[in-house]
Symmetry: C2
Amino acid sequence: MLDERSKKVLCAVIQNYISHPDPVGSRTVAKKYSFNLSAATIRNIMADLEEMGFLTHPHTSAGRVPTDRGYRFYVDSLSARGDCSNKEVIRGLFKKLDALRENLDMLFSETTKTISLLSHYLGVAMSPDPSVTTLKRIELFSHRADQVAAIIFTDEGLIKNKIIDMDLNVTQKDLNRISGYLNSEFSGYTFDEIRQRILKEMSREKLLCDRLISKAIDICREAFFSSYGDLFIAGLSEVLELPDFSDLQKIRELSRAVEDKHTIVKLLDKLSESDGVQIIIGSENSMNEMKKLSLVVSACKEDDKPIGVIGIIGPTRMDYFKAISIVDMTAKFISRMLVEK
Amino acid sequence: MLDERSKKVLCAVIQNYISHPDPVGSRTVAKKYSFNLSAATIRNIMADLEEMGFLTHPHTSAGRVPTDRGYRFYVDSLSARGDCSNKEVIRGLFKKLDALRENLDMLFSETTKTISLLSHYLGVAMSPDPSVTTLKRIELFSHRADQVAAIIFTDEGLIKNKIIDMDLNVTQKDLNRISGYLNSEFSGYTFDEIRQRILKEMSREKLLCDRLISKAIDICREAFFSSYGDLFIAGLSEVLELPDFSDLQKIRELSRAVEDKHTIVKLLDKLSESDGVQIIIGSENSMNEMKKLSLVVSACKEDDKPIGVIGIIGPTRMDYFKAISIVDMTAKFISRMLVEK
DNA sequence: TATTAGCACTTAACCATTGAGAGTGCTAAA
DNA sequence: TTTAGCACTCTCAATGGTTAAGTGCTAATA
């Protein structure tokens, strides 16, 4: 449906627009990219591309600007991925290696900063959705009066604290028995599975007679009921330098999108299962707040277990090639690093 | 040095400017505030106030605008504090009561959101500087190969995880002995004191012979060496609605200030010792990034122990009265809540 | 002597006009 | 099928004139 020549013109328009935020005209394309065609011909082609929905007009006498569909075509044709051996990236990431040892949260938060510095867009990262992490061990301590502290270790190397309110006093001895029971019963299961099993257990009335075990189940319900991973975003000041966010209205939209972490979390959550770099352009996204932004993300995996999502948020007019290669490299780097450890 | 009338004019100018972001002229003051004086007289007074450094001129034919010194005078004369019984505030805060039970981090993060919603400025909160928190108990677990997880409970109710790299394998049994030793030795001391004691212990060569204890000291060094508290900031989209941040340059400055958490942490840290609401206006602040912003903060204390700092960051043209009362109430509310618990 | 009215002056903000420049669409010729 | 040419459209920046707000100063006033 698109002949070779049209494709080239489309890509030329997009590339030019990405590097230079003004609508691009037929003359520019004819001159800068060595088609042996006159401006008039290019003009005709561009008119066709517009009719097909790949380009638009801000107004009659302005050049062409890509639509989301245009970007999509461009991105899909960008097959050469990830191997832009950007030394800068590698060095930057190596420096962050230390942070990893500390804890995953630290790693993710540093990663977002690095990504944003490298890409000049927003860096995002989300630690794994707890529902798919696997319980390794749980330890319980009486904390303050009426409160129990649960320390949860996962196979992924995460440590989570939960403070649980209790309606009656429980001794440390009781807690030890409870944690013993929980570990023997639930260790090796994901939080999701544990939740489901708890629901089943609860229906067995026999167990409810054992006060301690019903207590244990209460604790579990609290401890494993945590919906989403943590979200990290960095680089707002970086992105405000872009001409795309030169007017107040757009900045407000952006800041709302960034502050409404819930939206982004839901979005990233959907993508955390898939492999490789994924791209969502503008309105392809179902979230209203993000309609004018694009996402380039990749899941990080340790062997086959998802251990988080990292990515870039930027304007639809984004340097997708650069973004893809940064995200790809970073995700692979983190995955590799975690396997080695 | 300032007669009663001048004071009143100054306050009138500032109040008007706070509620309405345009330079205020002599006519406005004469009309809106019932001085029985003509505009001309007000004009003379304003000229005097300008000479004394309380007001400025954006340009010759514009009205007056307060200087930082002017704001300072105004704020100092605002003695009626905190008792603006704002029902809204109270209700909003009560809702957050649940979050407290979870953990302090959650509480602080929610508090910033509430504060920003109520004030329409940035809400900030910093959890306590670890160096002044008191160790209640430490538990050690072998985590992954070569890694030990330290769970630190403080008297303040905080729980901290630290993952510590070990150069040699230690069994769980060893870890239990180590934690037993640490608890008997350091429980009840602040992190600062612990650090100092460790330095002393290390010089006693006798102990170094006991491999386990030297190991323990290694662990401590890692575990208690954490410089600052966590900083939470919320409400950027709120603050972008203000006319004070209507141009790009100012927004960039603001976003840089917000992203450079280190600067704010240092600033808040200085204020975490003092009692009551403290106010820093524009250039009174030593940090360059914050020269055009004001801070209204208060330390939260449990009995006499500092458990964090909360506050508001906004433009120098801030509704200080409202800000002060919100900060004061919130800080007192949190302090009270934590004592009761 | 303190206050006020009046007036000249300054400046920003708004508005309409203008011309240049960029780019298009269309037509007719190659 | 491609291209040259041309009329047309639209933005943008500069220009200039007008208005409104506000000042500072001076002279009159209570």
